[in-house]
């Protein structure tokens, strides 16, 4: 009972070089380098448990959501985490530090090459596949999360800032719990 319609033959062109990433390609080497470093820094801040720095990567009114591929496809408004504004990000970090109870663990982010594009004046978009390896205090190590970051990055200011980050997880199932941001 295959519901999928029979596809057309190979698309004549299909502009594969831009693919899903919207907007014009972003090829300025300097800006590419800055964004690559920025994305790496954001991941490393989490991996190194410098979580208090993490909200600083976002614009004051940034949107940060973690959801699943399945929920996103279904257009469901509730995912797994939903923060509006840097303050809510900071609240998450402080809850983790002082309120929440969980077994100590660390993340190691593996980022694929970010697919960059121009999304408007002073705005870049990036789609970055990622995987997060979680390690428990006893040395137990596992692939905890995989998915993609869909980012909007403000490039106008002196420092780059995330205007929005949508984290789309491949799996709708979380192993144990999610407390350290992805």
């Amino acid at each position: 009972m295959p519901e999928t319609p029979v596809p057309a033959a190979v698309p004549a062109a299909g502009a594969p070089e831009t693919g899903a990433a919207p907007g014009a390609p972003l090829r300025d080497p300097e800006l590419r380098a800055r964004i690559e470093d920025f994305l790496a820094d954001c991941a490393h801040a989490i991996d190194d448990d410098r979580l208090e720095e993490w909200p600083g990567f976002f614009a004051p009114d940034a949107l940060y959501r973690i959801t699943t591929r399945e929920s996103e496809a279904a257009g469901l408004p509730i995912g797994i985490m939903h923060c509006e504004g840097r303050g809510m990000l900071a609240d998450r970090v402080r809850a983790l530090r002082v309120a929440n109870v969980f077994e100590p663990h660390t993340y190691c982010h593996l980022l694929g090459a970010p697919r960059l594009a121009r999304a408007g004046p002073g705005l870049a978009s990036a789609r970055t596949n990622f995987a997060v390896v979680r390690t428990m205090q006893d040395g137990g190590m596992a692939l905890f999360a995989a998915g993609k970051y869909l980012d909007e990055i403000e490039t106008g200011g002196e420092r780059l800032l995330l205007r929005s980050r949508l984290v789309v997880l491949e799996s709708r199932r979380v192993d144990v719990l999610l407390v350290i941001p992805l």
Binding site: M1, I80, C83, D91, R92, V98, A99, V174, V176
Partner: protein, 423 residues
């Protein structure tokens, strides 16, 4: 050991004796013995109990199907042409393949991909390929009767938008099983058409019954989930209590609290609640924006339905939570977030925000993802030891005035012990 061998407690290779103190004691062996697990499959999951299958809205249209599990047994729920909801085992009558290998879909009929045996939406065998062979050669013998073969059906009842199924003819109807008091509150929660707002699941690394206890444990929330306490969303010093909804069958319960009635009690200072260390200013206070949705003043209400379902209305967050054993020390916990079809945009927005409190990353629930694993791991090597649960006394009866009690947990074990036939 084959599942087949464990229809009765008498079949256990090591006899089980419940401690004489009764359900105030729970031997840890119950969380680590594979024979107990097999026995539960027969007595509880295939036994005289109503099991939550899905929400009606998941099979809204005729032909909609949705797969799931009752214990280890794979299930299909369908909406028939006649609009009625059906449930059957997801096991082909031919050689046992999953008939539906997709989690959801819509189909005119259920066709097994292996040899194309095809069933109607009630699970009756409609036809099979090459039944008469080709050109008169091969095919089924003359005495083959399609009517002898069908997908094993479950009894189905729907209530308050939820679909329940049971394998047993002895199970009383759903409203009798859950009792009028429970059904009343469920009707309150599902009084208007609901819409799905979110769905995800968690793997928790513990025996399913540890989560069943956790849901009924009104004693832990304020101590473990300090975010709750700190932000005064739910504390034991609010008016609230535990209602055992059926004194005869104290398997289910309702836990409720009225936020407005908070009257900070001295015991909170005494209690080792480490939330004391947390100042209560939120940088993003909209997180907790809420409105009075009902006039009974109840702002926090959880209904725990035996064995593996909980419905919660916390502030304005309506969620259905259920769990499925995935082996002796693994359980999958499902979260389904709901709103009403006619919610105003601002209301939906608040439900979305409040969802941050619960689920796999919930500010006040994430601890439950690991705490039951801590019990699973803590009890290793302790199969002969037992839990001690006398908080709120040793009896099983409603505790309208206090939630500093383990009465609801004792109620669960009362039901478990009875159904399992563990003397």
């Amino acid at each position: 050991m084959p599942e087949a061998s464990l229809a009765h407690a008498g079949a256990l290779s090591t006899p089980f004796a419940w401690p004489e103190e009764g359900v105030t004691r729970v031997p840890y062996r119950l969380f680590s013995d594979p024979e107990i697990y097999a026995l539960e499959q027969a007595r509880i999951f295939r036994g005289p109990v109503w099991h939550f299958l899905c929400l009606e809205l998941e099979v809204r249209e005729p032909g909609d199907y949705r797969t799931g599990f009752v214990g280890d047994t794979p299930i299909i729920v369908t909406r028939g042409r006649d609009g009625r909801v059906n449930a059957m085992v997801n096991r082909c009558a031919h050689k046992g393949a999953l008939v539906c290998h997709k989690e959801r879909g819509n189909a005119k009929a259920l066709s097994c991909v292996y040899h194309s045996w095809t069933y109607d939406l009630e699970g009756r065998l409609m036809g099979l390929a090459f039944r008469d062979g080709l050109r008169g050669k091969g095919g089924m013998p003359a005495d083959f009767r399609a009517a002898d073969h069908r997908l094993q059906p479950l009894r189905v009842e729907t209530f308050a938008g939820m679909v329940f199924g049971t394998f047993s003819d002895e199970t009383p109807d759903v409203e009798t099983f859950f009792g009028p008091s429970m059904c009343a509150i469920l009707r309150r929660n599902f009084s208007r058409p609901v819409r799905l707002l979110g769905f995800h699941s968690q793997t928790i690394r513990n025996n399913w019954k540890l989560y069943a206890e956790n849901v009924r444990d009104s004693y832990h929330a304020t101590l473990l989930h300090t975010f709750y306490t700190t932000f005064k969303i739910n504390r034991l010093d609010m008016d609230g209590g535990i209602r055992i909804t059926d004194a005869e069958k104290p398997w289910h319960h309702i836990s409720f609290a009225k936020r407005a009635t908070l009257d900070a009690a001295a015991e909170y200072k005494a209690a080792e609640v480490h939330s004391a260390s947390y100042d209560t200013r939120l940088e993003g206070p909209e997180l907790l924006d809420a409105w009075e949705e009902f006039d009974d003043g109840i702002t926090h209400c959880i209904q725990a339905l035996f064995p593996t379902l909980a419905v919660q209305f916390t502030l304005n967050s309506l969620a259905v939570r259920w769990f499925t054993p995935r082996g002796l020390d693994r359980t999958e916990l499902f979260w389904m977030y709901l709103g009403y079809e006619d919610d105003a945009e601002a209301e939906r927005r608040m439900r979305v925000m409040q969802a941050n409190l619960t689920g796999a990353a919930g500010l006040v629930s994430l601890e439950d993802g690991c705490i039951n694993e801590f019990v699973q791991r803590g009890t290793r090597g302790g199969a002969d030891a037992a839990a001690f649960m006398e908080m709120g006394g040793k009896t099983v009866e409603s505790s309208e005035g206090s939630r500093a009690t383990e009465v609801a947990i004792r109620g669960f074990w009362r039901g478990y012990r009875e159904i399992m036939g563990l003397a």
